[in-house]
Symmetry: C2
Subunit: 348 residues, 2 copies
């Protein structure tokens, strides 16, 4: 079997040398255990956080240990009566070709509902993040306006489409003309602004503002940086900011010693939150899994009917995962980033 381990903690942007591909003997399942062969590995921005030391909402990956990650796999040996050989399953098996499991927390997949890869994409953690962020934390009302960062990404693309179905004006922000065209023509955003071709936050703010004649009621925040700076002044009274990630900051280096970013240094931001009664709601998707079945019930039929579209960016081979991940953090992917770990990528 093969696995990709964390070789070194990155400083800023990860390098290929921060990862290491290892071969190991194939494990043998004991009583009650399954041997699972990975078919699809999901690459997601949150994984950058796991590479750093320090307090976060989940423990850091230890040096020398396999990188974490959601996967779709196939059961190839089963000593567990709840799983049969040939079952397709989903869980956080990590960046590895094979894994042992006692079946705990492992979700069986029904390939008739949707393609297997969606279980780690639009019908998996990223899609669920979009659903909870929009509905639970964004509290959208018909006729309101939402701005979505990383509009063509695994999360943003579903936020935009769900918001549109609910009758919101949807304005995306994405990096590059190709992504903006896709957001407009395929995902159905009302507008999409290219932050790459816009000089600074003030210019981006003007462009977004021109597309939001009634202001911004919800800013779905998953990028941070220039986009956040641009949107904040546009947010209406009683606006909401669901906050689930800040891709632009993930590579910004080790966090400085506490308390480094002094609130006292940026009265303007907090004054804006106060004056406009803005509700900033940090959330982590793992807190919400009680609502996962409802999410599947709501969104799977929309996918089956073609009312929700999704795009996948597929890299073939586990050994290519580090490079694909580095590109994901640079925004060089387009759509949900997957790694095909199977010997036969066309089969699944």
């Amino acid at each position: 079997m093969q696995q990709v381990v964390l070789a070194a903690r990155p400083i800023g942007e990860p390098k290929l040398s921060d990862f290491r591909l290892e071969s190991r003997p194939m494990p043998t399942p004991g009583p009650g255990q399954l041997l699972i062969r990975t078919v699809w590995l999901s690459l997601d921005p949150y994984m950058r956080g796991r590479m750093d030391e320090g307090k976060s909402y989940a423990a850091a990956v230890a040096i020398g240990m396999p990188m974490e990650g959601g996967c779709v796999g196939e059961v190839i040996t089963s000593n567990n009566p709840l799983f049969a050989v040939g079952d397709f399953v989903e869980n956080r098996f990590g960046w590895r070709s094979h894994t042992l499991s006692d079946g705990k927390g492992v979700r069986k997949l029904d390939a008739d509902i949707a393609p297997l890869s969606t279980a780690i994409g639009v019908l998996g953690m990223p899609g669920f993040t979009a659903y909870i962020g929009l509905h639970t934390h964004g509290m959208p009302q018909k006729g309101e306006t939402i701005v979505v960062g990383a509009a063509t990404g695994a999360v943003g693309s579903l936020v935009g489409q769900l918001a549109k179905i609910q009758g919101l004006r949807t304005v995306g922000v994405a990096g590059g003309k190709e992504k903006c065209d896709y957001a407009l023509k395929v995902l159905g955003f009302d507008a999409c602004l290219d932050h790459r071709s816009t000089a600074d936050a003030a210019a981006l703010s003007s462009k977004i503002g021109a597309e939001c004649p009634n202001g911004v009621d919800i800013y779905f925040e998953n990028t941070g940086g220039k986009t956040f700076d641009a949107v904040l002044p546009l947010i209406n009274v009683h606006g909401r900011i669901p906050l689930c990630g800040m891709i632009s900051l993930y590579n910004s280096g080790a966090p400085p010693a506490e308390p480094a970013d002094r609130f006292s240094n940026f009265p303007k931001v907090w004054r804006t939150l106060l004056v406009n009664r803005i509700n900033v709601r940090g959330f982590i998707i793992t807190d919400h899994y009680d609502q996962f079945p409802k999410f599947i019930d709501d969104v799977a039929p929309l996918i089956q009917k073609g009312k929700i579209l999704y795009k996948e960016s597929i890299t073939i081979g586990l050994e290519k995962a580090p490079q694909a991940f580095i590109q994901l953090l640079r925004g060089e992917n387009f759509g949900k980033q997957l790694v095909s770990v199977s010997e036969d990528p066309t089969r699944y």
Copy 2:
């Protein structure tokens, strides 16, 4: 009649020359109008915001116009069948000795419920801010820990007492030993830390942390600056920050041009909000007046029974209001700041 008008927009801390006391002819009430003699004027930190140009949640006071402010007054002439001479009333009559009103929005007071001055203090806007901020935005649960900035102020002192009644551990922050002693011995806070005698945010954070063995679930934010910097790293997962003011920032000068405080400059703060799923809830009390009757029903009996205590700091004479206001912004008041505008301060 006399009034205090805004003579100039302050840069940073207001100076006495930014205000001007004027004498005017006594106005004569027309049909349907009342003439009201001010008895008590409330001084509150929010008034600093009204002295600046620019977008806020309420319009700026124009140069040459009377300063705004909540007052208790006595009706001395009435051409309005809903009000009788001798009625005590409350509304935003401003920094003036007499005012004309058509009675709209004017609240009649019952001196049997509580002393008249409480209608602009613990049973008025500041108390209502404490009540809504704690209950609606803080969402307190028995056994949780709350940190309250400006713990002996008009808002903070009620937040602490209401939270204590609800079974929370209450930790205050105040400026000076006298205020801390009062918070502990009179208001019943479990602990109170003196930010004045503490060198910096890191040291204050250690002191607050030592008094919060289970972390901080709610930070009632009304000061900003060093206290906010100190508390942020202590806030628990799913913590709440009701945000109703930032006294320490009010004198920080004219706000810089948009968007000046770049989010991209302080990844650490936003990372903390995200990782700990913190809910920052800016609020303005004027949005919540539908709940005012419930507030009075809940809190007035607690005051009558002596379960809620309050402290008033009284300055005598309208002409002294500017100096008292400057001291309020410096934290040199102690308890709710009132100006007695009556010729006979002992009467009310």
